[in-house]
């Protein structure tokens, strides 16, 4: 039972920890406790945010915050679920600049809203011809196979 893991469990009792292997831990926490957990891992434990992954699953929009504890080389992944009908997550960009770009990317490619983000403008997609309602990384995005068209 690593102390970071113990500290997190004491902070958020309802967190379930799944140990994929000694260096990869996945911790599922409710959506509301995200900021608390992230602040604990970054500020108290001094972990570095590798990146965040947004996945469109049947259960809803799942977002993984990958924190890396560089001293021991272990990866702590916070797993948060936002329901499809209300894709909203608290933005960490105000206190943690590293999440600024990745939240903007998830916003434009997956349609997750991040209230509290300083400037939630598109990061990667074109400024001229891009349909803001369509999210490419969602499962329902229609895939055109150019190979057959030609």
């Amino acid at each position: 039972m690593r102390d970071a893991e113990a500290g997190l469990k004491s902070l958020i009792p309802e967190a379930e920890v799944f140990e994929h292997n000694p260096k990869r831990l996945h911790i599922s926490i409710p959506r509301e406790r995200l900021t608390e957990a992230a602040k604990y891992l970054h500020r108290e434990r001094g972990m570095r945010l590798a990146t965040c992954t947004g996945i469109d699953t049947r259960a809803g929009l799942e977002v993984l915050y990958h924190f890396s504890e560089d001293k021991t080389g272990t990866m702590y992944t916070l797993r948060v679920l936002a329901p499809k009908d209300d894709p909203r997550l608290e933005s960490q960009a105000s206190w943690f600049p590293a999440t600024d770009w990745i939240e903007r990317e998830m916003h434009e490619l997956l349609g997750i809203d991040f209230p509290g983000h300083p400037n939630l403008v598109p990061l990667l997609t074109s400024d001229t011809d891009w349909d803001r309602e369509k999210y490419p990384l969602r499962r329902d995005y229609e895939r055109r196979n150019e190979a057959h068209e030609r």
Binding site: T125, S126, T128, A147
Partner: protein
């Protein structure tokens, strides 16, 4: 001497390097053409800083939505007759990014491309051959 215009273009092709959504490998290889080992200046090929002075556009990368309007603008600014030489497989057929939502197709959908230099990245010798072949086709 056939048409002197063509002779002039053949003997001093000024090249402008246009990169739209490329992985920069072809761009580095294009730059390597200037280094002592390949030195394209012996053919009169000079890398110029503005499309206005260019005779040949060395294009790389698969155009993505954001860089398409800029690519067309640069092509329009280049005085004709000008060559378009695609460097790398991305410019031939969109390569591995064929089904990407952001790649809007190889150059020949928008510009008349005179020569393709396949290869990922093509060797500098292949690029020189590409430019020479494009010129000889004139």
């Amino acid at each position: 001497m056939k048409d002197p215009r063509i002779w002039g273009l053949k003997k001093s092709p000024w090249v402008y390097h246009l990169a739209a959504a490329s992985c920069n490998n072809c761009d580095i290889e294009v730059l390597e053409l200037l280094t002592p080992r390949y030195d394209v200046e012996r053919f009169g090929i000079v890398l110029v800083g503005s499309p206005r002075h260019a005779d040949a556009l060395l294009v790389t990368g698969v155009i993505n939505r954001k860089s398409l309007p800029r690519v067309l603008e640069v092509y329009e600014q280049t005085p004709k007759p000008c060559l378009v030489i695609g460097v790398g497989t991305c410019t031939c057929n969109n390569h591995i990014f064929l089904n990407s939502y952001n790649a809007v197709g190889p150059y020949d959908k928008y510009l008349p491309v005179n020569a393709y230099v396949p290869g990922c990245p093509p060797k500098p010798e292949a690029m020189i051959l590409g430019v020479v072949k494009a010129l000889s086709k004139l």
